[in-house]
Amino acid sequence: MKFIDEYRDAAAAKQLARQIARLATRPWNLMEVCGGQTHAILKFGLDELLPPQLALIHGPGCPVCVTPVEIIDKALEIAARPEVIFTSFGDMLRVPGSRQDLLSVKARGGDVRIVYSPLDALKLAVQNPEKEVVFFGVGFETTAPATAMAVFQAARQGVKNFSILVSHVLVPPAIEAVLSSADNRVHGFLAAGHVCAVMGCEEYHPLAAKYRVPIVVTGFEPVDILQGILLCVTQLAEGRAEVENQYSRAVRREGNPAAQKLIREVFRVVSRKWRGLGEIPNSGLGLRESYAAYDAEQKFGVAGLVVEESSECRSGEVLQGKLKPYDCPAFGTRCTPEHPLGATMVSSEGACAAYYRYRRTPVPPAS
């Protein structure tokens, strides 16, 4: 398959691994920001190809994982209403709120549906004028343009029975939160390629300069990730701290201006709570006043809901790269994909889920 096979080539991967090993002369920690990269690393066993002095730390870039329990509870409350068709990307359905998840709401009769695009949710609203259709707008800058498009179209078409539960977050503030933490031990970043395909690379330059860290915009296939690591390690070896683009087949420096314009039209930057990390200033998107009619929190009066997170789940530390999933006392015992304490165990991009699914133990399985 074109654009897949050449990036999963074993010989190319091994060649890159050898180059990395030659350059990685000191103990360095690299953080891959995106949960999709975390899963690729564990699925293909890329960390096993790396020299022991080079550690990969899994970052906060799983949109499902960082969605606070409070928003999940708001979603559950809205989805349980008889007049509502609640639509969401598939990943969100298993994420635990404080008491249950969306799949349980569905089992009790709630109309919860998986959609592949927010525009499909808008279509449902047009087809079901007697119902209130709500879309769960989750994700980083990658999915925000699609949500923005649905809101924009709804306003243009005058669709009134459609609204969004917004939980969009932004990557650069999360990177900054990790870097500015007192016990930060990350020496370089692999930034998420698809986020940069939308936003471009410009906003990473100030971070690289201020904190003196290399940031390499990286794709998601094994060869992409190893190339990203190689670029990062080369910079560290040469004492550089720049923004580089490994994923140039998808990412232009300026990103996708049309998508950015749409985001700015519909959303404004707001402070957001991150699961396990707490509130980060200017780290998320909220609907602009002119689109307030599409805000599900206001429409269904759940804006005031405040929920405390489980104290047993240590996903906050996992999301900041301070704790490996298998070092959490609950991992694989009181916390499993069937009984998750936190979203990192259920999301298809969550670090705990990746370790549970592919690894279980700190040591790779012997043959």
């Binding site: 564990l42 293909f44 990307f89 990943d91 089992a107 998986i114 980083f140 990658t142």
Partner: protein, 351 residues
């Protein structure tokens, strides 16, 4: 009746965790196995059921017979490469074949929703007739129920099958041994993706056709040729991943497979990539895995490849040793990882 005290006291299933049945309880993953092991098996317990094979083998007057049952619910009713009717025959015939039985007779139970177009029912029944003829079985008894509109999804079919065992092998996970090779009978994931593509309105350059087909003929050929087959399992719900984990668990052995040897067609891989699904977890309806001694691998493959339904049969791995029961997969880049039982149904991902 979750609040009934008698149910709460006697039901061994941890209902406090799941007061309601979820879709994942039927998804072929870990939750479904929990439901089987903790609710159904203790309730009906007996030595035949405890073997947990696709079909149960028992003896009547010195003759070994196999029996199995399955219910079929699929939306859409017609999909590229098959329909509900042919599926209801193939699935049950294949479960009999997995016990090494020659399928003889089927029953058919229809639960029909009021308002179903008569033409749709006729189309389904006609398709069953043709599939049964092709598989060499007869439908010898049946039942019909009509339920109120809104109480069923158009049409549900249950088929039960009986087959005869004409060899002396014990085919099942308990016969799997260290050193056995693992074969699959063809490329994986076509049925699941064919159905999903139609259901989700995805269109590709050419339609992915379901692999739904009867596999009894190649299996019986293996047995007639005297291949000492240790275990057979069709790769339905939960796909290859689920089946390998079930066998590892039931036999207490470690299985190791090579990702690069597992056949998945290009269009299926592409569709899975788009939806964020793992082709190794996608259901097939005309594919099976076979476990047999390494010295018989080549002759077995030769026999399988003579049949169109298993023309692309190949070897994907081996049983590598005692304990712990688990499945290892060597990835395309050469690293090794666990191939874990899926938790529930696969959910398409965000990005």
């Amino acid at each position: 009746m979750p609040d009934s005290p008698s149910f709460a006291l006697s039901c061994p299933f941890p209902i406090q965790d799941y007061p309601h049945v979820l879709m994942a309880h039927g998804g072929g993953g870990r939750l479904m196995h929990q439901l089987l092991n903790q609710l159904f098996l203790p309730a009906f317990q007996n030595p035949l059921l405890a073997r947990q094979h696709d079909a149960s083998v028992f003896e009547v007057a010195g003759q070994r017979l196999a029996m199995t049952t399955d219910s079929y619910v699929v939306r859409p009713r017609v999909f590229p490469g098959g329909d509900l009717g042919s599926l209801a025959v193939h699935g049950t015939v294949n479960d009999l074949a997995m016990a090494g039985a020659r399928p003889l007779h089927l029953s058919a139970g229809f639960i029909i929703e009021e308002g179903l177009p008569m033409a749709a029912l006729w189309e389904t029944v006609n398709s069953m007739k043709q599939a049964a003829e092709a598989a060499g079985v007869q439908i010898i008894t049946g039942d019909t129920k009509v339920v109120d509109k809104g109480k069923g999804d158009g049409l549900f079919i249950n088929t039960t099958g009986i087959g005869i065992i004409e060899h002396s092998l014990e085919i099942g996970p308990q016969s799997v041994q260290t050193g056995d090779v693992v074969l699959v009978s063809g490329d994986l994931g076509r049925h699941g993706m064919a159905v999903m593509a139609v259901r989700e309105g995805l269109s590709f350059e050419s339609a992915i056709e379901s692999d739904s087909a009867p596999v009894a003929a190649p299996v019986l050929d293996l047995l007639r040729a005297g291949i000492p087959v240790h275990c057979l399992r069709d790769l339905t719900r939960g796909g290859l991943t689920s089946v390998l984990n079930e066998i590892a668990e039931a036999s207490g052995l470690t299985l190791a497979v090579e990702e690069s040897l597992i056949p998945v067609r290009e269009d299926v891989r592409a569709a899975c990539e788009i939806l964020g699904l793992d082709p190794l977890q996608v259901a097939c309806e005309g594919r099976f895995a076979a476990f047999l001694p390494p010295s018989h691998a080549e002759p077995a493959l030769k026999i399988l490849r003579r049949h169109p339904v298993s023309a692309n049969a190949c070897r994907i791995g081996a049983v590598t040793g005692r304990n712990p029961p688990r499945v290892l997969l060597r990835s395309l880049v050469g690293a090794q990882r666990i191939l874990d039982m899926p938790a529930g149904e696969q959910l398409p991902r965000i990005c």
